[in-house]
Amino acid sequence: MTHVLLRHREIPDIGKLSVYQNNGGLAAFKNAVTKMKPGEVIDVVKNSGLRGRGGAGFPTGMKWSFADAKSWPHYMVANADESEPGTFKDREVMENNPFQFLEGVMIGSYAVGANIAYIYLRGEFWQIAESLDRKISELEAEGYLGDKIFGTDYSLRIYTHLGAGAYICGEETALLESLEGRRGQPRVRPPFPPSEGLYGKPTIINNVETFTNVPMIMANGAEWYKSMGTADAPGVKIFSLSGRVRKPGNYELPFGTTFRDLIYKYGGGVQDSRSVRAIMPAGASSSLILVDDDSILDTPMDYLEVRKLKSELGSASVIIVDDTVSMDWLINKTVHFFRHESCGKCTPCREGTFWMSHLTERIHTGQAVRADVDLLLNVAKQMQGKCLCALGEFSTMAVVSSLERFREDFDKAVQA
């Protein structure tokens, strides 16, 4: 299959501007700015069925149409904070096919009427930010960015902005706080960013992978895009496969590909030929899918089908857990992560992750009694639905699902 997003795998030098241009690059942006109205661009993206790739799966075209036309200026923001344990796709795109991502940001900015776009990268992506800065300068030098682009009235500038290590900044309102020079703590919503975002102005925030789809959709049309994937989730997705597989990595596949194909056909199967015990399809934030029946592996991966397994596809960061792993160890890991990353704003999350981590540590090290396991479930359930953003909720997903679906591991770990 030819790639739509990871095109560097066929065209190794696509990270060079001339090579990108020779492969049709930037024609879609030029066509949009010189021949289309912003609303027409939004319509194409809407019709393509593109959904946000950051995890929530919100329809992209619809989000763009929400930018408040009564309040100006508008801002466009690319979320390159990629921090979910198990996710490493945006990085590959920005490192290897940066112009397609940037062109997506440019088309999106034009569509929502933004003259300034910020790319918010996690601080660890220091090298990527430097490289993107150089690419942006090249685009300025060639007249794709700057004032009065292609002789029209449209002007656009793109700036990179580095975070400094905080998972929570992937949450869009925390990201905006951070971009404004504050602690990355989520805002109360509403108002939502398309009405009041950066500096109180309408702001559209999309994930790197979402943007990277846009030039191809504009070039090939909504119908072409919809011919891939499923009705629930059209198009292709980059699945980040990690954990106990022989060939971990990014695999760009149509939505609806089965877990079995991802793990065995592409991922080379499970390490040491063990069997799959659980799947975490959305990174550390996942409810664990219990693979007690081999046919579960034939589930097609889209939002709807994964939900039927009482989990979520999220950003499709698929972590494979084999039968050598005990779940008391696993949730001790995930809870430790969320405890570290809780921003401290909402009490249930700040305190809940703290107490959960005490309990998971005690259980994992064999110092717990049976009542501790019930208490852990109790704390987790108390947190659910009580936090401003999803982090608090996410921290309970692996805990509650593993206690419900892998109880025997915990019974073994506690003293009688």
Partner: protein, 165 residues
């Protein structure tokens, strides 16, 4: 000397990215410059940046304390920050971290005697398919080192040592 006097062009270039009413956005990039100079962010640097952006020193300190890549104390010149989160742990990161510390005769979070290297466990770095891995946070750059072994890491530390001499 203040940052604005020391690096007028760089500070100006950072400020120019944001609208006048959004000047505070320059805080995080300025903190990285301050840290580059001293290896950590001193009280004096916080005061300097606060004055430059018309905010209080407390607001600056609140941001420094929130983000993990800012440091308030001088430790090793280089920080080896090993990801030991779930996906990396499933691929041997914890064993790697332990062996590396044993080799350096330090515990996690400690600095080697010569003050060159601090080894720390950190949260996910978006390199889950290339574990064991770490990022090397130096004074003016962050580099990823992936598919690592203790041998390769000791070689890297050797190179860092040489560049110091």
């Amino acid at each position: 000397m203040s940052l604005a006097e020391k690096y007028p062009q760089e500070v100006q270039q950072i400020l120019s990215k944001y609208p006048p009413h959004g000047k505070r956005s320059a805080l995080m990039p300025l903190l990285f410059i301050a840290q580059r100079d001293e290896g950590y962010i001193s009280k004096a640097a916080m005061q300097d940046i606060a004055a430059l952006l018309d905010i209080t020193e407390t607001e600056v300190a609140g941001v420094v304390g929130f983000y993990t890549l800012y440091h308030e104390e001088k430790e090793g010149k280089y920080r080896i920050q090993v990801c030991t989160d779930l996906p990396c742990a499933l691929r041997g990161a914890e064993g790697f971290m332990g062996d590396l510390c044993d080799h350096l005769k330090i515990k996690a979070g400690e600095t080697t005697e010569d003050g060159l290297v601090t080894v720390e466990a950190v949260m996910c770095l978006a390199a889950c398919d290339r574990a064991p891995m770490f990022q090397l946070q130096g004074p003016d750059a962050i580099e990823y080192h992936e598919h690592m072994t203790v041998e390769k890491t000791m070689e890297l530390i050797g190179e860092l040592k040489q560049s110091e001499e």
